[in-house]
Structures are given as C-alpha cells and as structure tokens.
Symmetry: C2
Subunit: 491 residues, 2 copies
C-alpha cells in the first residue's frame, strides 16, 4: 500500500505533479551516473544524494523500486560533443593503461566515495560498454524508421526531420532554428547534414582504442544512445522517473527524448527530475578554475581552498540543507555551519533516550510527524524537513530541561520518527565517529566518569581537572547535568 501522496517537479511539464506510477506500487527510476575518467567530486555527490533520497523515500512510502544508474565507460567525447577523443580513452592513453583499467579504477573510487556518503547502491548499475548490442539494435530501429542516416560509416540522428514530425525541444525548450543559426555553417566536409544532428554511432579513427563491429563500421556508440538503450532494457519502453543533473538536460536528455520517441514509438519517461548545480564561492566548479575539489579532498582536507577536512556526513547534510532544485554554493563557512546543525541533531538523538515522561504532553507530536511527511511529499523538500528536525531538537532539549512535557508514548513517537526521517530517509549515519569503536569508547568513558565522580566527591580537584584536560585532548567534552555527567565527541 502506498502510504503518502508524493508530488514531484516534472521538468517536462515545468510543474509539480502528483506522482502516480505506471504500474501500481512499482516505480522505475533511471539516473545518469558518472563518466568514469576522474576522481569523484562534489558535482557527483549532489545527483547521487538527490536520487538516493528519491529511492529511499519511494521505498519508504510503499513502492517496490527498480533503480537503474548507469556507468558511462565509453562514447562520452570531450566537451560533450560528437568530435574529439573519448574521455576515458584519453585518460588511458596518458596513463598508458587499457581503457577498462581506467574505468575500473574510477568505478571503484566512485563506489567508495558513495559508500562513505551512505548513498545506497542502485538495483542495477549497467555499463555502456556492456550494452553495445542493445545500442546497435536501437540505432538500427531508428535508421529503419527513417530518422537517422549513415554518413561515412557513422550514423547520425536527423534532428530537423524529428522536429517536423514530433517537435524538438520539449524538455530543454531549445528551438531548432535558434540552434542552427547559433552554430557555425557546415563546411561541406562535415559528416552531418545539419549542425543540430547528433551521433548515434561513430566510426572509429585508427587511434581509437575502444571499438566494436557494427553493420556500419568498426566504431563505438554515441554518448546519448546508451541511456535510451539501457533504460528500455531494464525498465521498459515507458517508465516512471528519469533523473540527472540540470546540465544534462541539453543535449543529453533532449537527445534521449528524440531517440526513445522514434525507437519506442513514444516518449518513454513520465517524470523528468533534475537537480541543480553546485558552485564554489559563487563560481562554477572546473579543473581550469583551480576550484575543483574531489570528495576525498573534502574527506582529508587536502586542498588549498579547504580550511580543514569535512567528513562524509557533513557533506551529505550540507547538500540536503538546500532543496535539490536550488543552486548550492560551497564555502568553508557553509560546511562548518552544516556541521554545527548536524551535531545538534546528533546530540538531540542521544538525548531522546533519557527524556523524563510526563502525564500530559504540551506538544503535538503527531502534528510534527505530519509536517515531516508534508515536507518530503512536497517535491522532497529536505530543507523544510531538516527545519522540522531542528524543531524536534528544540522540543527534546526543552523536555529534558523541564520546560516542556511529553507523555511516554509521545516520547516514543518522537524518537521513532526522528530516527526514521534523520537516518532512514535522509540517510544520515547514527554517529559520524567510528561506530565499531564506539562500544569500547562507551565503556572506557563510563569508567573515567566514575573515577571523576569519586575524585569530586573526595574533593580531589587535581584528578578531576587532569581528567577534564586529557579528555579535551581526546576530543571529548564533558558536561555536568543534574542527571550526572554527560559526554560528547567534538568532530
């Protein structure tokens, strides 16, 4: 049973729409994954986390979700264009490796970074190079239907013809005439009939390492066809959600619309979802701008622009504090502020265990739970949800201090839902410190606090001070409360 009514913003309709899946209680989700030729960076984290939230929430509200996120390991040429070197093959040439060694290395890096960010693995993670047959077959279908042409061994999609029949630009709003007048004239040497056409299959030049046989040439697939071929294979000709970064709307996703409309006879995607971009101190992130920061650099602080290291949960929380359709500007200040918020919620979570129960509740917890769901149902409004969690933190602290009251069952309700939204749905991890070592730490801290209490009882202030100083040194802060001493980790 589907327990909530979710609305999502559909880029295709430019509107928030109620999410109704094509098959009741099942949802198909396809998201453009990484092109694996470099270390994963902040720009990879945002779409991964955004659609991790979609995946988690759909599952939570009752859908059986098939989540497909591809890996582009062939066909993505430099500058997203139809000419130039393959990104992975270029890296392989520079490093003197087999292209698949490069792809494997960065797939492994990507997985490691995503695991740290607690991004769940998709249900299927297909590779472009592993679906050449399916891509060739789809190119053949498009040729058979007359919307592509062969030119010197390569195959191009005929955009003007598509425009005439189906109307081009539904997703991106691009107008074909403007595109054509904005590009250089074809000089007659070009294989394309029209500058707006895009490659479905490229004949390999002699130095191109990744190559397969096809009916048209020994070559490799164009960048756009992989997603249409793989989403069709694993989710069918019509599926629920296609996601990706906003920078992919044109040309990548617009080209997918063209391909699937022709090959499958209809538009495949019911809801297109796009996350916005990340800027760094207001600038676009780019290797040439010197502001390109990999996720590992965030985790270890090893970059000139970073004042310190930031752990993975800090990054995740930071990203979720903005709505996925808004821009998000990175700065040290913003990450440190996010950390403060995160630590506040972590501390609230520890406190819940120890709240005193009253006979009456001064707060309406059921209403609070409802507001949390409303936030998520409203196009995954995570900043609103996080604000509700801060409100819960305020309530928790006030109950602890005796300024507010909750019944035992309300405390349970609050605890259950606080953890549901913070851990299961937002995907935060219970403690940012080493969870495995925590058990021993707890026991050692119990011992130390007991010794400290004895020292204080015996007015042995030297020992008590020594303990406090050493604990500070170990990154642990002790706070005396009327229930006894409490401790928490800094960082």
């Amino acid at each position: 049973m589907i327990t909530q009514e979710l609305t999502i913003y559909n880029t295709l309709q430019k509107n928030k729409e109620k999410f109704i899946s094509l098959i009741p209680e099942h949802a198909g989700l396809y998201v453009c994954g990484p092109t694996v030729y470099g270390e994963p960076h902040l720009g990879h984290a945002r779409p991964a986390i955004t659609f991790d939230l979609v995946f988690r929430y759909l599952k939570h509200i009752g859908y059986k979700v098939r989540y497909v996120r591809n890996i582009t390991d062939v066909g993505h040429l430099e500058n997203d264009a139809d000419e130039g070197e393959d990104k992975i093959a270029k890296k392989a040439r520079l490093d003197q490796l087999e292209p698949m060694e490069v792809a494997q290395f960065y797939i492994d890096s990507y997985h490691k970074a995503m695991d740290k960010l607690n991004v769940l693995r998709p249900s299927i993670e297909p590779r472009a190079s592993g679906h050449i047959i399916e891509q060739i077959e789809m190119v053949q279908q498009i040729l058979d239907k007359g919307f592509a042409y062969i030119s010197n061994g390569s195959v191009y999609f005929d955009v003007p013809k598509f425009d005439q029949e189906f109307g081009y630009g539904k997703l991106s709003g691009r107008v074909l005439e403007d595109m054509i007048s904005n590009t250089r004239e074809l000089d007659g040497q070009d294989e394309k009939r029209n500058a707006a056409d895009f490659a479905l299959w490229k004949k390999a030049s002699p130095e191109h390492i990744m190559r397969w046989n096809s009916p048209w040439s020994i070559g490799f697939p164009g960048w756009h066809i992989e997603c249409t071929a793989m989403s069709t294979k694993y989710l069918g000709e019509h599926f629920d959600i296609h996601g990706g970064g906003m920078d992919l709307i044109f040309p990548h996703h617009e080209s997918e619309v063209c391909q699937s409309t022709v090959a499958n006879g209809k538009e495949s995607v019911k809801y297109w979802m796009h996350n916005n971009m990340i800027t760094i101190n207001g600038q676009k992130m780019g290797k040439s701008l010197g502001n390109f920061i990999t996720l590992n650099q965030f985790f270890n602080g090893d970059h000139a622009m970073l004042e310190r290291s930031y752990n993975a949960m800090n990054i995740r929380f930071f990203i979720m504090q903005a709505h996925y359709r808004g821009t998000l500007d990175f700065s040290n200040e913003a990450l440190i502020a996010a950390e403060k918020g995160m630590l506040k919620l972590n501390a609230a979570d520890k406190l819940i265990e120890k709240l005193p129960a009253s006979n009456n509740s001064s707060e309406n917890i059921s209403e609070w739970v409802k507001r949390c769901y409303e936030a998520m149902n409203d196009d995954l409004n995570t900043p609103k949800l996080i604000a509700e969690l801060f409100d819960a933190s305020r309530i928790i602290n006030s109950v602890k201090d005796g300024h507010l009251q909750l019944t035992a069952s309300d405390i349970d309700l609050l605890k259950e839902n606080f953890r549901l939204f913070y851990y299961d749905i937002l995907g935060m991890v219970p403690d940012t410190a080493a969870v495995q070592g925590e058990d021993v730490t707890e026991k050692l801290m119990d011992l130390i606090l007991e010794i400290r209490q004895d020292a204080k009882t015996n007015k042995n202030w030297g020992v008590a001070d020594m303990i406090r100083n050493k604990l500070t040194d170990a990154g642990i802060v002790v706070k005396d409360t009327k229930e006894g001493a409490e401790w928490e980790r800094k960082n």
Copy 2:
C-alpha cells in the same frame, strides 16, 4: 627491475617452474571470479585470497600487473552442464526480479565481503553479459576454422575433432575415450554430435529471460566462452597466468584451452594456477549438506555450525596458514587456533616499536629476511612465511625480555620487513579492531593507566582493582612490565 626469482606450480606442466613473463616486467593475470547468484561463502574466499597474494607479490617484486577477474552473470547453467536453467535467471525467477538485479545484488555482496577480507580489487572486472559481441565473434572464428557446428540454433564445440588435431585433455588429463564411454549414449534427440562436445552458444527457450541476437539464434553464450573472449580482449592472445579453483580445471578450463587453441591459433596461457578446495569438518561444502556457511555468517557467527563469530582477518589468516595447493579443512578449532596465531603476530608488531637497541646483534636479521623471500618465491609458500613471522615474534619477545640482542639498524630492518610481509604481502590489516576509533581509545587508555598508576603509588588498591575489572569488562587486558603498564584488546 624484478627483484626476486619466483617459481610457481604450473598445472599444465605438473611442475614448479620459474616465472618468466611474456613481456619483461609486465604480468597478465586472469582469474575466474564468482557466478553471482548467491551470498559469497568460504569457497569464494580461497581463490580470491590466493590470487590476491599472487597480485600483491608480483607487484612487490617489480611487475606491472594487469589483473583481470571476471563476473559470470549469464550462461552458467545448473550443474555446470549445457542443459538446464541459468543460475542467475533461476534465482531471478524465484525472487521475481530482473536477472541483472540479482547479479547486481550479489556483486555488491561479493565486493563488500572481499573488501573486509582486504582482497585488492582487480585492475579490470569484466562481466560476461557485457561482452556478448566479443563472445559471438569468437564463436564465429571457431566455426570458421571448422571446430564447431550449428545444431538447431545452438553452436557446439567439436571435441573429437579437436582431440584428433591438437590432443584433448592437456590440462585435466582427461582422456576423450574414457569420457565418452562414461556418459550415457546420445539418444538421437540430442543436439550434440558427441556427449563430450560443449556449448558455445545456446538458443534460448521461450522462458529464458537473458537473450541476445546472434547469427545463429536469439540466445546466450555458453559458460566457457566468456573467459576466453575476455582474457583475449584484455590480456591478449598469449598471456602469463590463468588462475582459479581446482574444481574449474574440468570442464571449464579444459574447454578454455580448446577454444583459445582454435580461435587464437595457439594455447593462450603460459602458467595455469589452481587453488585447492575447502572442506568443512572433512566434508565438501554444499547447500544440501547443511554445512554451507556464507562469509557474513562467519563475520557475525550466525550459523548452527559456528561456535562464535570470526572476523575477516581471522578468516584470511586461516586460509593463508595452508598452502594454496593443499586442502584446507574448516573447523571452529582451526579458526580459533588461527586467531591465536594472528593475535600473537599483532602483539609482536606492537612490541617492535619499544625494543631496546644493543651494540651487537645476536640474531641474523638479513638471513631471516632472505628466508621470508625464499618462502614466497617457492610457489607462494605462505605457511612457511607465517612460520618465519612466528620466528620473528619469538625474537621480538626475547629482545624485549633481554634474552636476545639487536642493534638499532637490525631492529629497523626487522620492523620494516615484518610489516612488509605481514601487511603488504600477506594483506593483513594492522588491527582487527576498529582502526578509526583506535585513536580515541589510545588516548582514553593513556588517561586510565595514568590514574591507575597514581592509585597504585598512593596504595589506593580499591581504585586500581576497580579499573582492572572495568577494563576486563571492556575487553581490555592490562599487563604490568618493567617499562610500565601495557594493554591489549581481547577479540
């Protein structure tokens, strides 16, 4: 520069041979990876660790290694035969999933378990389903050369013809006549001309989900062709080492020999290496025998045959204590014994830091280093190497107790090589406890031991006892030595 002379046992020659790579200073290694339709178990750990050792050692002695380990996600039929249901498709049917969801799920489980065992990721991890074109092309080559035939849309390798021309059974020692007389007569309905023939391509029955177009039928590749196609693609027609479990020699590897001999015009593999099997209390492991234990069950102790949980380093150490070509029998006793040995070496590693230097050495450490290399050079004799590490542990403890002497430079030499062999080459991880939490634990323990020392100095025995008891409870044992108190974790 290659710094050591390695010999390895070549199953093809039934002899230990000097390892000389085809291209100087480069080594190509292909290992049969998992068929991903179930949780990884002890039987997966042994080949993974065995060839992880090969990978690590080849790199250490100076080779640039390209290590390819495949994933079988299609074509492996039940009972390793040419008839029956695909193992992954069957699991998918039972679980109502897309076959690639099943494959992805168990690929992820496999990776997680291998990461815990500190098995390095291979350079390339190709999937069978991602190399259908390459397999079809190789089948076509074999057909073109006359060593295969088409029967009802399927393609079979002609084993008697191969036997006549090249001699069958070089690797496994199987004699074709015996094989034929041992199998049932073909009843005339069979697609195969001869019972010893094996499938290169199978026409898909209507219920078979995984299927691709080919020149012969819509179908799927036979199990054996994937490894020949992928090893040829990523390592070339002639490469150094092919590894796998002994149970794969026949029919899988013998079939690979047939395929590559015909397709590439020569045998592809210079050295065939095979690890022996694992038994459980003397029995073969099998789902029907109730003694099938997954790696996660070992890690959490959740199986009727397990007396407790065993961490991943304990499993790794246990496997390496036997030579890879010997059988290895699992029992709780054997694993607990392995843990004792491992903890002894872990403790020795901690002690090395604190050894007192003398003016003369009573031990010849250079000779010890030489013996460690000799062990590894002798067909990766890890039990011998581990015995040498125990000898080092004995030396370390004796130096600490003042019974033996080492100079400062010998202590350094011992430390460097002890860690090289234990951590880098055997792939053990510095501490089995949570490494991340260790820092805080160290600091808290420093504080606790300081308080304890004060208590003892002040003859405050109550506090000293209380501390000892609580530490025992936290799994920490304190030992008083003349250099002061030392502590170590139990488990």
